[in-house]
């Protein structure tokens, strides 16, 4: 329902972004108090069949007028999480038994307050927010996902990075007993990702522990993952156990595996093709006709300034 409403707004009618968000929030609120079935006739057959599971709530960030949240069913069954298998539906099947408690997160490197946190203590200081983000995979498919989490910057500020800290390196759990995909050498385990410090400090960069208002399902990277909405999905590392402030650019796993196809920056860019496919368009999960991919996945206004003067063709 939320969606149909949004689609009714023509871009030209949006005079102010704030007004638009207010409208979205109002609709979300309406949904929350159970007026969800207000206009069932306006739902397309496709929409109707796919509207299953919980209702998406949260503040939309950078959504386009025709963006609507991807159903829970798709968000939790179509996953790239090689730690649980290389098929899209493997994680949903193989991650069921995965235990995420107890869970320790190590924060170290160039910080004045390094620590090993129990997950609960790691989360405690932060106010969780529901934010609806666009998600674009390097494989040219996309979703709109209502994450729950907090800005990574808040957590980093608490750790107090020193002046030597230039990058942040993230590490996924390494435990082949619990993550069966790690028994195969399809990638160089553990999975490593990294961001430049300014990217990590950007308010859009989200530490995620929930989706659709619920705890993160295992296949989505429980108990703690990252989401960087203007970068290809593989940057948004899952099941994080370590956050390290470093001086040199971290060497991320996909870059190690195939540096001609996957770089460090991995900013969504319709003008720079993947060697094996175009990045100019994308398939929104649940839709048939392709959409045009937006520069920085639609977050250019917020993030483009971080890359001025950089050759984005070279720094893919």
């Amino acid at each position: 329902m939320l969606i149909r409403r949004a689609a009714d707004i023509r871009p030209s009618e949006i005079t102010s972004e704030t007004l638009y968000w207010n409208r979205r929030e109002w609709i979300a609120a309406a949904g929350a108090i159970g007026v969800a079935a207000m206009s069932p006739t306006s739902l397309s057959a496709l929409g109707a069949a796919r509207q299953q599971g919980p209702v998406a709530r949260g503040t939309p960030y950078g959504l386009q007028p025709n963006d609507k949240p991807t159903p829970w069913e798709d968000v939790t069954n179509y996953n790239n999480f090689y730690e649980f298998g290389t098929g899209k539906d493997d994680p949903a099947q193989n991650a069921q038994e995965f235990t995420t408690r107890p869970w320790t997160v190590k924060v170290d490197g160039f910080v004045t307050k390094p620590a090993d946190y129990q997950l609960e203590d790691f989360l405690k200081p932060h106010k969780l927010e529901d934010r609806i983000y666009r998600h674009r995979c390097v494989e040219a498919w996309s979703m709109v996902i209502p994450w729950r989490g907090f800005s990574l910057s808040e957590m980093l500020k608490r750790a107090e990075p020193t002046s030597q800290a230039k990058f942040v390196e993230f590490t996924t759990l390494l435990d082949p007993r619990r993550m069966p995909g790690q028994r195969s050498s399809v990638l160089d385990w553990p999975y490593i990702e990294g961001l430049r410090l300014d990217e990590a400090m950007h308010p859009l960069t989200l530490m995620v522990n929930g989706v659709y208002g619920r705890d993160l399902p295992n296949q989505n990277g429980a108990p703690l993952r990252l989401h960087v909405p203007w970068k290809y999905g593989f940057k948004s590392i899952k099941s994080i156990v370590r956050i390290r402030l470093v001086e040199k650019e971290p060497v991320n796993t996909w870059k190690v595996s195939q540096s001609s196809e996957y770089g460090f920056y991995a900013n969504v860019n319709p003008e720079v093709d993947h060697p094996r496919w175009s990045q100019a368009t994308e398939r929104r999960i649940g839709e048939f006709l392709k959409r045009k991919t937006l520069m920085f996945n639609g977050y250019a206004d917020q993030v483009a300034s971080m890359y001025t003067g950089m050759d984005l063709r070279k720094n893919y």
Binding site: L46, D74, V186, T281
Partner: protein, 229 residues
């Protein structure tokens, strides 16, 4: 005592072998094969239509990609099946299999056509610029298209009339193209997958066994080799 046992074993093994060799073509096998080979295609078409038009998830969350890959994998299976007929005939003595090889080959072409339709119409959605870039700049697409094109002369010459017109020897030589087509298909597959080469390598292994079997036969009996391949 010892001799007696081994004789029995020998006799038994001989009779099993004879029984296998004596197995005749079941009645209606040809029709059954055709019906069976239609099933995956029918499921693919029905599943894709339902997923795209009604929002079901028979092919998961990304039906176009999944359906496209499903059809590609069936193409490879059928190509490999055509190459299995000759070794199977030699091992089992079921010469009646030979006449069904054409069915397998024609269905392989049918599946690759559906695979291409899924790619061009549903995936790329007839974006001509994109189709051109794919063909010219993306080697795995080029290899796939080449393999498809090389199958066309084989389909055209698949009738009895064409066999007669070409003559057995020339026809045989032409249809050796299927060895190349299948290799191209497996390379296309392995280049298309992102990272996990398990399935493409399985196909490559099966091909290696099938081709190895032929090579060893040809090197032993060069005179017969080509005509039975």
């Amino acid at each position: 005592m010892g001799t007696w046992t081994s004789e029995i074993v020998q006799q038994e093994s001989k009779s099993v072998r004879d029984r296998i060799r004596a197995f005749r073509e079941p009645r209606g096998f040809g029709v059954l094969l055709i019906v069976a080979l239609c099933i995956p295609a029918a499921l693919a078409i029905a599943g894709l239509l339902s997923d795209i038009l009604a929002g079901t998830r028979y092919f998961g969350s990304n039906p176009v990609k999944e359906g496209e890959h499903f059809l590609g994998r069936w193409t490879l299976r059928l190509l490999v099946a055509t190459l299995t007929i000759t070794p199977l005939r030699h091992i089992t003595g079921w010469n009646w299999l030979a006449k069904h090889r054409r069915t397998l080959g024609l269905f392989a072409f049918g599946y690759v056509t559906l695979h291409w339709i899924a790619y061009a119409f549903l995936d790329v959605q007839l974006d001509w610029g994109e189709l051109k870039t794919d063909l010219l700049k993306r080697p795995y697409i080029f290899l796939g298209m080449t393999a498809l094109a090389l199958l066309v002369p084989l389909v055209v010459t698949s009738t009895k009339k064409m066999i007669r017109r070409l003559g057995g020897k020339r026809w045989n030589r032409l249809h050796k193209l299927v060895y190349i087509v299948t290799i191209l298909g497996v390379i296309h597959y392995s280049m298309a997958v992102k990272q996990d080469l398990t399935y493409p390598l399985t196909y490559a292994l099966v091909l290696a066994i099938l081709y190895g079997w032929r090579l060893s036969r040809w090197s032993r009996k060069p005179a017969i080799g080509p005509s039975v391949a």
